[in-house]
Amino acid sequence: MSPHDHTDDHTHDHHHGDAAGHDHTTFQPDIKEPSEDWEFLEIALRELLIEKGVLSAREIQDEIEAWENKSPEGGARIVARAWTDDAYRQRLLADGNAAVGELGFTVEALKLVALENTETLHHMVVCTLCSCYPRPLLGVPPLWYKSREYRSRTVREPRAVLKEFGTELPVTTEVRVVDSTADCRYLVIPRRPEGTEGLSETALAALVSRDSMIGTAEAFSSDGKRNIL
């Protein structure tokens, strides 16, 4: 499709790069004018780095697009494979980097560790020191994962935090908060919902939400709803 096909409604925001002097008042309302000091600092640093040949504008755009192409669908594919292929599940638990590599994912320089949730053990991941997150598998982290509230409270009151996400677990299930403090990145394998025996791998992947791979929620049930015990 043409990137400048204006017959569709204007839901994309990439209408730029036209000749200088083009009147943008019609087509550019969705690009927010910078207002904060740090947004001006971003412009200054970026323009200087481009002028000096350290980075190019094309590279920055490509990098933005590369990250936008990474999403929780990646992690969901891995989980669905682990649910349907027991040998794969065991390889994933034994060597996360190698097993996600089989499906075309690369987690460079870091150790990828898959954590399997069971009826008696529920993992939830936090980074209390910064905001470590398995971006190659889940994309850019949600704002709440990086928030002061999530980072501070999760290790102290995990069940209160889970409740805010609509997740309540029996006291017989050990809630294990995993603080991602070092060179490991964690992918939670949520429990496979009941009644999903006949589903294809693709249909199963659709039940694996981002939050279920962080551990603040469970996978959706077979009808696509939140799986509340």
């Binding site: 925001d13 730029h16 790069g17 200088a20 943008h24 550019q28 690009i31 927010k32 004018e33 910078p34 904060e36 740090w38 947004e39 001006f40 600092l41 971003e42 412009i43 200054a44 640093l45 970026r46 323009e47 200087l48 780095l49 481009i50 002028e51 000096k52 350290v54 980075l55 190019s56 504008a57 094309r58 590279e59 920055i60 755009q61 990098e63 933005i64 990250w67 936008e68 209390t128 020191l129 910064c130 905001s131 850019v140 949600p142 704002l143 709440w144 990086k146 928030s147 002061r148 509230e149 999530y150 980072r151 501070s152 409270r153 290790v155 102290r156 935090v161 805010e164 996400f165 603080d179």
Partner: protein
């Protein structure tokens, strides 16, 4: 308590978590991309750990009050100076020029570099 690093939050009290979804703004996406490009090969001007150390070295008030990507862009600025990639003088001069642009022209939406 002075022994606690400003970034070390585990166990502190806090209010409810805002779990609403947020689409990153253009500024945020560009900061993210710049950080990744400057940190990874082939440039690798600094290690992730240096980035963390720089963020932890922000004034506590700045750390407390700043947005996530605001901390990132402040860290990029500090590390580019520390590593000798850019000088403080040229950054300040450029910043003054950017801030003086008329409304509507400051965004830098038209890349000024290699894009034709």
């Amino acid at each position: 308590m002075t022994d606690r690093a400003i970034s070390d939050l585990g166990g502190l009290a806090g209010g409810p978590i805002d779990i609403s979804e947020h689409q990153p703004t253009l500024s945020e996406r560009r900061i993210d991309a710049m950080m990744m490009l400057l940190r990874k090969k082939p440039r690798a001007f600094w290690a992730t750990d240096e980035n963390r150390r720089t963020i932890e070295s922000l004034e506590p008030k700045t750390y407390e009050e700043s947005a996530y990507y605001e901390r990132w862009v402040l860290a990029i600025r500090a590390l580019l100076i520390e590593k000798g990639v850019l000088s403080e003088t040229e950054i300040e001069a450029k910043l003054a020029e950017v801030c003086a642009r008329p409304a509507g022209g400051a965004n830098g939406d038209q890349p000024s570099g290699d894009r034709q």
